[in-house]
């Protein structure tokens, strides 16, 4: 452990640093300061919603699934939250509880469809997303409800340049990090995401971790929806879809070094990925880039940033078990064992031949 291992989280942070440096120079050419409190607050505010969604998405992607329904969950959460509060501060706790319960229910449905019915996560959550879209269309026409001022403060205030919403997001990231690194469910999630069959043969029950990941992902999307509602002051049936959060959150997760195939990754990489997006967006806003051109830049940044470390061997990435990673260990052990196994098989063949010869 003397040698500094370059794992993907470090690379993500390096890319983030590069983005900040380039961004600061570009912003300086406009005669503005990148590091002014106002600008930092803008970036952190931009991070918090996508950050919440991406933390949840990280859990699901680690389990080798996907969640494309988060956008609709967010819209639904903003509507349920806003209509239940109905402008009355006394309703806030009840509204938040109800919203998160509904979201957990959706996540449970996702998880059960993926694990019990064995529908691919892509299709399952796409289908659930369509169902939620139908519910949104039939139950709500346009914006509804109203969020009391006390709850709006959540999205508006901050400690110094750091908004409350970002503090909540970081706190939840710590919680998820604890879940992944220090609890049995987390370890099982890594195992199931890496190889469900091997996990099953090792005595891990493969369904509960993945179901838990889906439930948490939907709850995090619900929190993001509530945050959006607190910013807008109302609930909106299209707020999630407009942001394109499903694909962006998956992009942020992969940008953060989590394998799309599951089993490897970390929450901090995801936060780094979200921060890269937020910095790039912020710089483009300050530079007043054409909104259509922004999408082009975003697309190029996503591919380029992932390309930086995708060429590296997968074994370099952070794994759950031990510093070397199970993969290298396994390969090395197999290589070392190869001569012995060849000798053993030769001996076995010889013995069989002799046995057959004796029989005749």
């Amino acid at each position: 452990m003397k040698r500094l291992r370059i794992d993907s989280t470090v690379i993500v942070l390096a890319i983030l640093l590069l983005a900040i440096v380039v961004g600061a120079i570009l912003v300086a050419t406009q005669g503005r300061s990148f590091f002014s409190p106002g600008n930092i607050r803008d970036i952190l505010t931009g991070m918090s919603v996508l950050g919440l969604v991406a933390i949840g998405q990280t859990l699901v992607v680690l389990g080798a699934s996907l969640d494309l329904s988060v956008t609709y969950v967010m819209s639904l959460a903003s509507l349920i939250g806003a209509t239940t509060m109905a402008g009355n501060p006394a309703n806030i706790p009840w509204a938040v509880t109800l919203t998160l319960l509904v979201c957990a229910g959706i996540g449970l449905a996702n998880g059960l469809i993926v694990t019990v019915l064995k529908v691919n996560g892509f299709i399952a959550t796409l289908g659930v997303g369509l169902i939620l879209q139908g519910v949104l269309n039939t139950s709500f026409q346009g914006s509804a409800g109203s969020v009391p001022w006390d709850f709006q403060l959540l999205g508006a205030t901050g400690i110094g340049p750091v908004p409350v919403s970002t503090i909540i997001m970081i706190a939840l990231a710590v919680l998820v990090w604890f879940l992944l690194d220090r609890t049995r469910t987390g370890a099982h999630l890594f195992a199931v995401g890496g190889d469900p069959e091997v996990a099953r043969l090792s005595g891990v029950r493969t369904r509960p971790p993945l179901i838990a990941a889906h439930v948490l992902c939907s709850v995090f999307a619900g929190l993001a929806g509530l945050l959006l509602a607190s910013r807008l002051g109302v609930g909106s049936p299209t707020v999630g879809q407009q942001g394109g959060y499903a694909l962006l959150s998956i992009a942020a997760v992969v940008l953060g070094g989590t394998l799309l195939l599951g089993g490897r990754g970390s929450v901090w990489g995801t936060i780094g990925g979200v921060a890269i997006f937020a910095v790039v967006d912020n710089v483009m806003s300050v530079m007043q880039v054409n909104p259509f051109l922004k999408d082009v830049v975003r697309g190029v940044v996503i591919v380029a940033a992932v390309a930086v470390y995708s060429r590296r061997a997968i074994v370099r990435r952070r794994t759950r078990f031990g510093p070397g990673g199970t993969r290298t260990g396994g390969d090395a052990a197999a290589l070392a064992a190869a001569p012995a196994m060849a000798a053993a098989s030769a001996a076995l063949t010889a013995e069989t031949d002799r046995g057959e010869g004796d029989g005749r």
């Binding site: 529908v119 691919n120 054409n290 996503i302 591919v303 060429r311």
Partner: protein, 360 residues
């Protein structure tokens, strides 16, 4: 009896579903069974089915192509802006569009294979960049009305035929493209593609040039999207949201056709049947008078149910299959030398074995 067994098997489930849907439509609307109406139906399916054919090649290789919808929109806007009211430009612009499409596919493929960026991320970036780039170029307004000769490809056809009265060009194009697709899947290229999707490492060891094979799959996908865009110009006109969501519809259609996300399994005809099922579903929901707001929800339920059904049946069949199919490990040396020689003779032959056991 054999036909019934095929129909309830996962391979045939999509055809069974298609028959059920078509019968239901015919019961609700007897006019649907007339040849002219059926032709109109196939004409409407053609763009979706062609995109699904392209997506099939990418998915069977274990990749995703999320850029199809954006590419369709981009091509439609290119056609709208470049053709104008000049009939003479139809052919050059058509060629330009095909070249542009192939180029997009080439970039997708090379980024995926040479830079080792997950195709989900590459095509997501391409999706953002393409749409943003084209909108930036046109200033966000998708204007322009291509010359009639261009639009005839999508809306015109051979008139005054006996029996069916009207044979749209798009139906012929779909038939031709499908025939070409079937032919390609039977060529060594198609076999290697399936082998790559099933087990990339094994295919590489067997001598497959994986980067070029996968890249060609992306080119096929992009050219398919181009073709679909050409049809949509005539059918739906020039509009910035023409291609929106097509990539998800195509993936859904392919998965409904029993093609496994992750690659290695599936039949191209079933993928096209999946597209027909989706369009029949939309039509049925329309005729049955289900409020448009609920259509998404019904669609979501049916997609999940169909995929879950084929998954459950597939697993049940695998469990009940006799275990003697694979020889016990100890028997392997006793197998006739010819059998081993055959399976490892060439990658194409090995791949053929794969398709035969899984497919026909």
């Amino acid at each position: 009896m054999n036909v019934v067994r095929t129909l309830i098997s996962p391979r045939g489930a999509v055809f069974l579903l298609l028959v059920v849907l078509l019968v239901a439509i015919t019961i609700l609307n007897p006019g649907f069974a007339e040849p002219g109406q059926l032709m109109r139906y196939i004409q409407r399916v053609a763009p979706v089915a062609i995109v699904a054919i392209g997506q099939y090649f990418v998915i069977i290789a274990g990749e995703f192509d999320l850029s199809q919808g954006s590419l369709i929109t981009a091509q439609v806007i290119i056609a709208g802006n470049l053709v104008g009211q000049d009939d003479a430009r139809t052919v050059p612009v058509l060629l330009l569009m095909v070249v542009f499409g192939a180029l997009v596919g080439l970039v997708n493929g090379l980024l995926t294979t040479l830079l080792k960026v997950p195709s989900f991320i590459v095509t997501l970036g391409m999706m953002l960049a393409l749409l943003g780039g084209v909108m930036w170029w046109t200033g966000g307004a998708a204007t322009g009305n291509p010359a009639d000769s261009f639009r005839q490809i999508g809306r015109g056809g051979i008139r005054d035929l006996p029996l069916i009265d009207f044979l749209p060009w798009s139906v012929l194009i779909l038939a031709g493209w499908l025939a070409l697709g079937i032919w390609v899947t039977r060529r060594p290229f198609g076999k290697v593609l399936i082998a790559l999707g099933d087990n990339p490492r094994a295919a590489r060891y067997a001598g497959a040039r994986s980067w070029w094979v996968t890249t060609r799959a992306f080119i096929i996908s992009a050219v398919s999207a181009t073709l679909s865009g050409v049809l949509l110009v005539g059918y739906a006109g020039v509009h910035p949201s023409v291609g929106r969501g097509y990539e998800f519809i195509a993936i859904t259609a392919v998965v409904l056709g029993g093609v496994v996300l992750g690659g290695g399994r599936g039949w191209i005809v079933a993928a096209v049947a999946g597209a027909f099922v989706l369009e029949a579903l939309f039509l049925l929901l329309n005729i049955a008078g289900i409020p448009s707001s609920l259509r998404d929800a019904v669609q979501g339920v049916i997609i999940i149910a169909a995929v879950a059904y084929s998954g459950v049946v597939f697993r049940a069949r695998r469990k009940s299959a006799p275990a003697t199919a694979s020889p016990a490990p100890g028997d392997e040396p006793d197998a006739p030398p010819g059998a081993e020689g055959r399976t490892s003779a060439s990658p194409a032959l090995a791949a053929e074995g794969v398709t035969e056991t899984r497919g026909d």
